[in-house]
């Protein structure tokens, strides 16, 4: 289908300069750019247009390919990371091999970063000229194809992982759901009520958890961790470690006798945010799925002191396996969904707001447990001394929207703070103060909920709390054991000192612990806030730059439950797109050995991270396996005989690009 030619001198290049509205044309003289490019060697036609990516823009390219017999196309517009697929498709539709289209990035790396019009125009000239010169040396390539295994690995069993797993399993594909804790449910299982409908969190979550456990297409791998991911879209090879639970789930009936008999009683419960205790053999919470205990070997007497075994003695089915060992197995999956969630940022750093200094200062999650009927106080909102609070301060934006901690907005805090105010008014007689900067009630029914809480008698102070102090002489009316919230009421321009005896800090959401390792393992980048970066903030919100790896939920940024569920379904659909088609195109930009120059020295074999190169013993030449090669080009840069080239990024192509960059218009 391609009418391309690879020898220089015969190239017929079309240059298309995009205005991108005023994004480019506002800073770069696009008319001049197009005019000058018309004079470049090999250029047959050079045009400028308002929006090249629009339908008429693409149509123009297709028309010119037919009319002028273009065999190279250069689109000077945004970053290739943005619209390369768009223009490749347009060229392919016109019968031109898509790899003969190149983009010159004159938006992100020129017009947007340059102020001066002359400077920007000169830089754009150099960039486009370089691209035209490189374009003349481009060669047509044919993408390979690979099978996509009809299975997905989902990392993280919170509500995002649960939703994605159910969507995919229902569609008939296999799911391996890996959760590092012994139960799925994630943070949502910790919550009490959910805003704005005040559904009980467990009531809407636990049926889904059970559904996951019972689904024939879902393999639930709790207390497992992903250790290594190799391969690429369609054929990922994943090593998962099963951490020793010391309980044989096949035999365990979940009766819970072991839990009641365990003599170790005082291990702080992670699930209850360390406000309650659990034994050394335990389930995370009563509705855990699977409802099988594990032994925490760090606290178990048998492992710490070498003797005990009470659980073993009382376990009738004989499910306790003290000599249980970790085991590692390999899964093969076609796609991966990352749903590793969030963690609250360390509240220990918020001493100025009283955390750790006063007993009754809580994070949002701690307060959830305090409200929860299954929590440490059975749902009674009481202070550490057992008394009901008389006045509660809810402090918004603790760590969020703050140059000193996280710049981002954690998005859910305004709403759960309102929910807390509602629960406090419902369950106690306390005065409730909300100290806020802006009230962000953005979702469906949220603003209405805000109004409802406003009319329930909560006092709203428009101003962020600056600090929390012990009372001084200035606070004559305050009880001696109270805390003073100091805040500026910005609507009055007045500094307030509000005495309270309980404080809830709307603590910022940060990336989950281990996000860095996950990012390195899957080679997915993170945005400046530390959360995983999506491929495009608007148009590819569930994809990552790594094909076949998708994001769901708060691992991509703070979001509430409805948004998390929506994104999880989105990522499931995106993953199924690959699996339904059953095969995937492989980037043909791979290394190629010119056997006549190869000396079989083996340097390339050594540097290849994918074991994609071998020395063919018969011919004594290096051979690249095109399906395993990822196209990094490290072997090319290492070969002393210049016997390997990286297609689409050959030395010659890059030299011509360099000459164009450093040419006349500097």
């Amino acid at each position: 289908m391609s009418k391309a030619i690879s020898k220089d001198g015969q190239a017929a290049v079309g240059v298309y300069v995009c205005h991108c509205g005023t994004n480019i044309a506002g800073t770069v003289d696009v008319e001049k750019l197009a005019k000058e490019m018309a004079g470049e060697a090999g250029v047959v036609i050079s045009r400028e247009y308002k929006f090249m990516c629009s339908d008429p823009g693409q149509e123009q390219i297709k028309k010119d390919i037919a009319e002028f017999g273009l065999n190279r196309v250069v689109v000077a517009a945004c970053s290739p990371r943005m619209h390369e697929p768009t223009f490749r498709r347009a060229c392919a539709q016109a019968g031109l091999n898509p790899f003969l289209m190149l983009m010159a990035n004159i938006r992100e790396q020129c017009s947007w970063v340059t102020k001066d019009r002359t400077e920007a125009t000169n830089k754009a000239l150099a960039i486009v000229r370089a691209t035209v010169r490189r374009a003349r040396w481009m060669r047509p390539l044919q993408p390979g194809r690979a099978k996509v295994k009809p299975s997905t690995l989902i990392i993280g069993g919170g509500i995002a992982g649960i939703q994605a797993a159910l969507d995919i399993a229902e569609a008939g594909y296999k799911v391996h759901l890996v959760e590092r804790n012994q139960s799925i449910g994630g943070h949502m299982a910790e919550l009490d009520k959910t805003f704005p409908t005040l559904d009980c969190s467990a009531c809407i979550l636990t049926p889904k958890m059970v559904q996951v456990a019972q689904h024939p297409n879902i393999e639930l791998l709790t207390y497992h961790e992903v250790e290594e991911v190799r391969g690429s879209v369609g054929q990922f090879k994943v090593k998962v470690r099963r951490k020793a639970t010391c309980v044989d789930n096949a035999k365990c009936t979940g009766c819970g006798v072991c839990i009641t008999k365990c003599p170790v009683k005082k291990v702080p419960s992670e699930f209850d945010e360390k406000m309650a205790f659990r034994p050394a053999i335990y389930t995370m919470f009563p509705q855990a799925v699977p409802n099988k205990p594990v032994i925490d070997r760090k606290h178990c007497n048998y492992f710490v002191r070498g003797k005990c075994g009470v659980c073993e003695k009382f376990c009738e089915p004989g499910a306790i396996v003290m000599n249980d060992r970790d085991s590692v197995r390999e899964l093969e999956v076609g796609t991966i969904i990352v749903a590793t969630g969030y963690d609250l940022v360390d509240p220990g750093q918020f001493k100025q707001w009283g955390y750790g200094r006063f007993p009754d200062v809580y994070t949002g999650l701690e307060f959830e447990r305090l409200c929860n009927a299954m929590g440490p106080t059975s749902g009674k909102i009481v202070k550490k001394d057992g008394q009901a609070p008389a006045a509660v301060g809810i402090l918004h934006c603790i760590g969020s929207r703050d140059e000193n901690y996280c710049k981002h907005c954690s998005r859910v805090c305004c709403m759960y703070s309102l929910k807390f105010a509602h629960l406090l008014r419902e369950k106690t007689t306390a005065r409730v103060y909300e100290f806020y900067i802006d009230m962000r009630a953005f979702g469906k029914g949220y603003e209405e909920f805000y109004h409802r809480v406003m009319h329930e008698g909560t006092r709203f102070v428009r101003g962020k709390a600056g600090q929390v102090l012990a009372p001084t002489e200035a606070d004559a009316d305050a009880p001696a054991d109270s805390m003073i919230v100091v805040a500026e009421e910005t609507t009055l321009g007045k500094l307030l000192r509000v005495p309270v005896d309980m404080i809830v800090l709307a603590t910022a959401m940060g990336p989950a612990q281990g996000a860095k390792q996950v990012s390195e393992m899957l080679r997915i980048p993170r945005s400046p806030d530390g959360f995983f970066a999506e491929k495009h903030p608007k148009l590819a919100p569930v994809e990552t730059p790594t094909d076949g790896v998708f994001l769901a939920g708060t691992c991509q940024g703070p979001k509430d439950i409805p948004d998390t569920v929506a994104q999880a379904s989105g990522s499931a659909a995106a993953a199924m797109r690959f699996m339904a088609r059953g095969e995937v195109e492989i980037d043909p930009s791979v290394a190629l050995v010119r056997p006549e120059m190869c000396t079989a020295c083996g340097m390339c074999v050594d540097v290849c991270a994918y074991q994609a190169i071998e020395i063919d013993p018969k011919r004594n030449k290096a051979v690249v396996n095109a399906t395993t090669c990822k196209g990094c080009g490290t072997c090319v840069a290492t070969c002393r005989a210049t016997a390997i080239e990286l297609q689409h990024f050959t030395d010659r192509q890059i030299y011509h690009e360099l000459a164009g960059l450093l040419g006349e218009a500097w």
Partner: protein
């Protein structure tokens, strides 16, 4: 050299981290000196030492090379090979009479748009201070 001297700098940026970081500088509308012009390569490991010599030969006053942070390389280990090659190239440049400071190597992630803008600015200033004394430049290009 005068303050007005505008050095010509070529940047070799890997597609996955550094080029994305440079894009982010644009998306964030930061200002980056126009002295730097970028060649996109799939991985910093792709950078043949000859690219750098070729850039100098074509009249570049400085070359910036950037890849993913150690451990973050999209291709597992290409960035480490790049770093090792660069170390050797610097020594060689010193030997032929080109200040090794004209070559700048840095790790830049896709999220470090702001750092990219700062690093480019600093490197441009550094090369500006070194001036245009490039014995490798082909006759006629460095003027």
């Amino acid at each position: 050299m005068s303050e007005n001297f505008q050095p010509r700098i070529v940047g070799f940026l890997c597609n996955w981290c550094s080029y994305a970081g440079a894009d982010l500088a644009g998306t964030s509308r930061l200002k980056v000196p126009a002295n730097l012009r970028v060649v996109r390569v799939p991985c910093s490991g792709r950078i043949n030492p000859l690219f750098i010599f070729k850039a100098l030969e074509e009249g570049a006053d400085g070359v910036m090379v950037s890849g993913c942070h150690p451990g973050d390389c999209h291709y597992i280990s290409g960035n480490r090979y790049a770093k090792r090659k660069l170390a050797v190239i610097r020594r060689l440049l010193d030997w032929v009479g080109v200040e090794p400071e004209r070559i700048h190597f840095t790790w830049l992630s896709a999220s470090e748009g702001a750092r990219y803008a700062v690093e480019v600015g600093e490197f441009v200033d550094k090369v500006r201070a070194l001036g245009r004394r490039n014995p490798m430049a082909r006759q006629g290009v460095a003027s």
